[in-house]
C-alpha cells in the first residue's frame, strides 16, 4: 500500500503545478491609457516583469487582482495572459478597451459586452493560377485549433464568454451609455474596407473588431478559465478602464 502511494505520487510528479497563487480577477487592456484608471485604483500594488511583459498585482474593491498589458496585438496578448495563468489562478479574466464596429448600427460610445469571442484572422484561399488575381471576399474562414488534453487539437470557431459575468455587465446600462451584448472579434488587422467588414461579419458574426480580445479568450479556453470582455465602440481607452472598474464594483 505504501509503495502504491509512493508510485502514485511519482506518476503525478510529472504534471507541473499551474497557477499556484489564486486571485479573483485578471484585468487586461492594450495600453497605459486604458490601464490607467485600473492601476490608479490598485492598492498595495506590486510589479513583476517577465521578459517583455509586466504584471501588476494588488487589490481593487477588496478583490485580489492581476493587471497586465496586451500591447494591442494577439501575440503579446496571449504571451501576457499565459504568464498570468502560469503564475496565478484567476476566477475571471476581464479584457477591455476600444473597438471598431462591424455591426454598423452600433453607435459611438456603446459598450459591447461579449456573448462570445471570435479570432477572425484565419483564412484559406482557393487555388488560383498566376494572373487570376486574388479574391479576398471569396476566401474561406480558418478557425483556430486549440490543444486539448490527450494531445488533440479542436478547431474552434468561437470561444465562450462567462455567462454570470456577462449578465452583470449587461446591467450597467445608463441613459448616456448603451451596454449591449455582441460578438467580440479580434485580429492583428485594422479593416477599413466596407465590403471586407461586411464579409467578415457575414463569416464570423462579429459585432466589433479589436486586436486582442478573442486571442486572450482562446488562451483562457486552453485552461478553462472564465473570461468576459467589454469594448467601447470608437470610444476612449480611459472610458474603457472606467467601465472595468464599474464592473468590478458589481462583480462578486
Amino acid at each position: 500500500m505504501k509503495l502504491l502511494l509512493f508510485l502514485g505520487v511519482l506518476a503525478t510528479a510529472s504534471t507541473q503545478v499551474w497557477g499556484a497563487k489564486p486571485v479573483d480577477v485578471m484585468l487586461v487592456a492594450a495600453d497605459e491609457a486604458a490601464l490607467a484608471p485600473v492601476l490608479d485604483h490598485l492598492k498595495n500594488a506590486q510589479v513583476e516583469t517577465h521578459a517583455a511583459w509586466t504584471l501588476w498585482t494588488g487589490t481593487i474593491d477588496g478583490k485580489q487582482a492581476v493587471v497586465t498589458r496586451s500591447e494591442g496585438d494577439p501575440l503579446n496578448a496571449v504571451a501576457a495572459t499565459t504568464l498570468v495563468l502560469r503564475n496565478y489562478q484567476p476566477r475571471l479574466i476581464f479584457v477591455f478597451g476600444t473597438a471598431r464596429p462591424h455591426d454598423l448600427s452600433l453607435e459611438k460610445g456603446t459598450v459591447v459586452v461579449s456573448t462570445e469571442f471570435v479570432a477572425f484572422d484565419g483564412m484559406m484561399s482557393p487555388a488560383a493560377e498566376l494572373g487570376k488575381g486574388t479574391h479576398p471576399l471569396e476566401w474561406s474562414k480558418l478557425p483556430h485549433p486549440l490543444m486539448t488534453a490527450g494531445e488533440k487539437e479542436v478547431w474552434t470557431e468561437s470561444f465562450p464568454a462567462d455567462a454570470h459575468a456577462r449578465d452583470i455587465a449587461l446591467t450597467l446600462n445608463r441613459a448616456d451609455r448603451h451596454v449591449v451584448g455582441g460578438v467580440l472579434g479580434s485580429a492583428a488587422q485594422v479593416n477599413r474596407e466596407v465590403d471586407r467588414i461586411a464579409y467578415l461579419r457575414s463569416q464570423w458574426h462579429t459585432s466589433t473588431e479589436d486586436e486582442e480580445s478573442a486571442h486572450i479568450a482562446g488562451c483562457a479556453a486552453l485552461f478553462a478559465i472564465p473570461i468576459i470582455g467589454a469594448r467601447i465602440v470608437n470610444g476612449t481607452p480611459t472610458t474603457a478602464g472606467e467601465f472595468a472598474l464599474e464592473f468590478l464594483s458589481h462583480w462578486k
Partner: protein, 273 residues
C-alpha cells in the same frame, strides 16, 4: 513520518517547482513533426504535461532536450512557447515543421533554415467605400512589435526576427535525408494561401520563401527572452507545382533536427546583440 511518506513528500515538493533546465527546446506543431525526435531521445525520456501541452525530456547527442508539441497557429504556439521557456529555461529554441513553398524553385522535402522569420498577417487596409471591394495587395503591412528585454521599449523589426547565426551555420552543414537545404525567409500567419498572385505578392513584399503558422511568433518571443532561436521548415506543399499538402514531409525536418542536434556543439547562453 515513515520513509515512504517522507520520500513521497519530497517528490511532491519537487513537482511544485519548474522542471530541470534543458539545453534545447525543439518544437513541432503536430505529432508527425515530433515523432522522430521523441524516438531519438535516449532511454528514460520523461513526458511532462503542463495544461494541455506535452513535453518529452531526454538527451539527443550531448544535449538535454525538451521536445514540445505546440499545436498549430498563434494561440497554441505562443502559449506553449511561454510555458516551455518558463519551465525549461532553454538556451536554444528550434521551431521546425512543415510549410508551403512561396519561392518557385522550392520542391517537396526541401528545407529552409531561417535567416529571419516574419509575421506577414498584420495589416491595415486602405479605406474603401461600399461596393469598392477589397484589394489585398493594397493592404499596408505592419511589423510585429515586442518590448526589447534590455530597454523595455517597444521595437518593431521591420523585416522580422533574425535566426541565430551560430545555429544557422551548423544547420547549413547538416544533412537533410530527403531533400535540399537552403537559407531563407519564413513567413507566419494564420493563413493558407493558394492564389498564386497573392503568393507571389507576399514573396516579393516580405521576401518569404515559405509560409506557415508559428515560426515568426516563436522568434518574437525568443527575442523578448534573449534566447537563441532558429527555424527549420520543410516544403510539404508547393502551389506552383500543384503539389497538395503531404503530411509525411514532416519527417524530413524531424530527422534533420536530430542530425542538427548531433552536430551541435555547446553554445553560449545568449545570442550576440
Amino acid at each position: 513520518m515513515n520513509f515512504f511518506r517522507f520520500l513521497a513528500f519530497l517528490v511532491a515538493i519537487a513537482a511544485l517547482h519548474a522542471a530541470e533546465p534543458v539545453d534545447v527546446l525543439v518544437q513541432g506543431a503536430e505529432k508527425p513533426e515530433i515523432e522522430d525526435l521523441i524516438a531519438a531521445l535516449q532511454p528514460n525520456a520523461e513526458k511532462i504535461a503542463i495544461g494541455p501541452f506535452s513535453f518529452w525530456v531526454g538527451k539527443i547527442g550531448r544535449h538535454r532536450v525538451a521536445v514540445s508539441l505546440t499545436g498549430q497557429a498563434l494561440i497554441n504556439c505562443t502559449t506553449s512557447t511561454i510555458i516551455g521557456i518558463e519551465e525549461f529555461k532553454p538556451r536554444l529554441i528550434i521551431n521546425q515543421g512543415t510549410s508551403g513553398a512561396q519561392a518557385p524553385f522550392l520542391g517537396l522535402h526541401d528545407i529552409i533554415v531561417d535567416t529571419r522569420a516574419v509575421d506577414y498577417g498584420i495589416f491595415t487596409t486602405r479605406e474603401r467605400r461600399a461596393g469598392e471591394g477589397s484589394a489585398t495587395t493594397h493592404w499596408i503591412p505592419s511589423p510585429q512589435r515586442i518590448r526589447d528585454p534590455i530597454s523595455h521599449q517597444l521595437v518593431a523589426p521591420p523585416a522580422g526576427f533574425d535566426g541565430d547565426m551560430a545555429a544557422i551555420a551548423i544547420a547549413l552543414r547538416t544533412r537533410n535525408p530527403m531533400g535540399r537545404v537552403f537559407r531563407g525567409v519564413i513567413g507566419s500567419a494564420h493563413e493558407i494561401n493558394l492564389e498564386l498572385d497573392r503568393v507571389r505578392w507576399s514573396h516579393e513584399t516580405f521576401g518569404m520563401d515559405v509560409e506557415e503558422m508559428e515560426s515568426a511568433h516563436v522568434a518574437a518571443i525568443a527575442f523578448a527572452y534573449g534566447i537563441r532561436c532558429v527555424s527549420f521548415r520543410v516544403v510539404s506543399d508547393a502551389p506552383y507545382e500543384g503539389i497538395p499538402f503531404y503530411p509525411l514531409a514532416a519527417r524530413a525536418t524531424a530527422l534533420f533536427s536530430v542530425n542538427f542536434l548531433e552536430n551541435l556543439s555547446d553554445l553560449p547562453a545568449s545570442p550576440a546583440r
